[in-house]
Symmetry: C2
Subunit: 174 residues, 2 copies
């Protein structure tokens, strides 16, 4: 993984001492501890907004539980696909978002929606108590309201990084 032993020891010490000097690490215990730090033992209720190509891909391929998230709802504004099954869930009308959230209190939202509607959706969701966003839209969520956690995934930027690498013969796989 391109990491030195020294770096691993330093990093682990940010969270505490997990090994025994002269003896080593209990690997399975260490693994569990790291999992706890990352929060993979949680089941945070998560909803997906937007069941287009990307939303569908994520709903099908991402193992949410593996990251401590539990996908409990999928929403879309397209009435033609509302009611359709997607994985183990059924696509719900975005108009029912408020009702659903008041009843189920999700904490995390995955945003697979166009830039133009993202601000409105984020406003509605924060109002409803959602504090964490996995954001695939091109809109940059404005964290004026602190205590909100955002993980942006801008795939276009990633392709641009590759393009730079191609044009400058860089091995950026580190």
């Amino acid at each position: 993984m391109h990491l030195t032993a020294s770096q691993i020891r330093q990093d682990l010490n940010c969270f505490g001492g997990f090994g025994q000097q002269g003896y080593g690490y209990n690997v399975s215990e260490l693994r569990k501890e790291i999992g706890r730090i990352l929060g993979v033992d949680k089941h945070r209720k998560t909803i997906l907004i937007g069941a287009g190509n990307l939303g569908t891909a994520l709903a099908v391929h991402i193992n949410f539980e593996k990251s401590g998230c539990s996908l409990i709802g999928i929403f879309d504004s397209n009435k033609k696909i509302v009611g359709n099954p997607l994985g183990k869930l059924t696509i719900t009308d975005i108009d029912d978002l408020e009702k659903f959230c008041r009843e189920n209190k999700p904490e995390v939202a995955v945003l697979c929606i166009p830039k133009s509607v993202t601000k409105e959706i984020v406003d509605r969701l924060t109002e409803l108590g959602v504090r964490s966003f996995w954001n695939f839209s091109h809109y940059d969520i404005n964290v004026e309201h602190k205590n909100i956690i955002v993980e942006n995934v801008h795939l276009g930027d990633s392709l641009l990084t590759l393009s730079y690498g191609v044009n400058n013969n860089l091995d950026n796989d580190k």
Copy 2:
């Protein structure tokens, strides 16, 4: 963008001087220069391997030209979807990969395929002269053969980062 003026000047100077002291930058010229550095003015022939949910999402939503790439072929092993249209292209049988590459000489490949077949596909593509990979599979491409450029996108890692942020109340939007 959370950048200081100093940082921008430093970064620009890695590539040369683009402004005039006391006067400023010619913004549209600077923009063009940065574009050239990133290679967005190129039209590198690009193929997409795997037309599942994720591959479809990328084919539809990503503006390849904007990053200097030109999508010229889409391949899948599923005979049921071979021949189907996808965007402006038609899904081609993966068995025709060699023929297509010898004729069209693509430089970049987007990998939306399962981990299990990635090594084989990468071997075939490098043999055919493809040197750059935008890799969405979970397989870590082994760059033993230098001169190969890889940009990995592991969406699961991104969700795990969010999970850590949620559990430790970190604002990681910087």
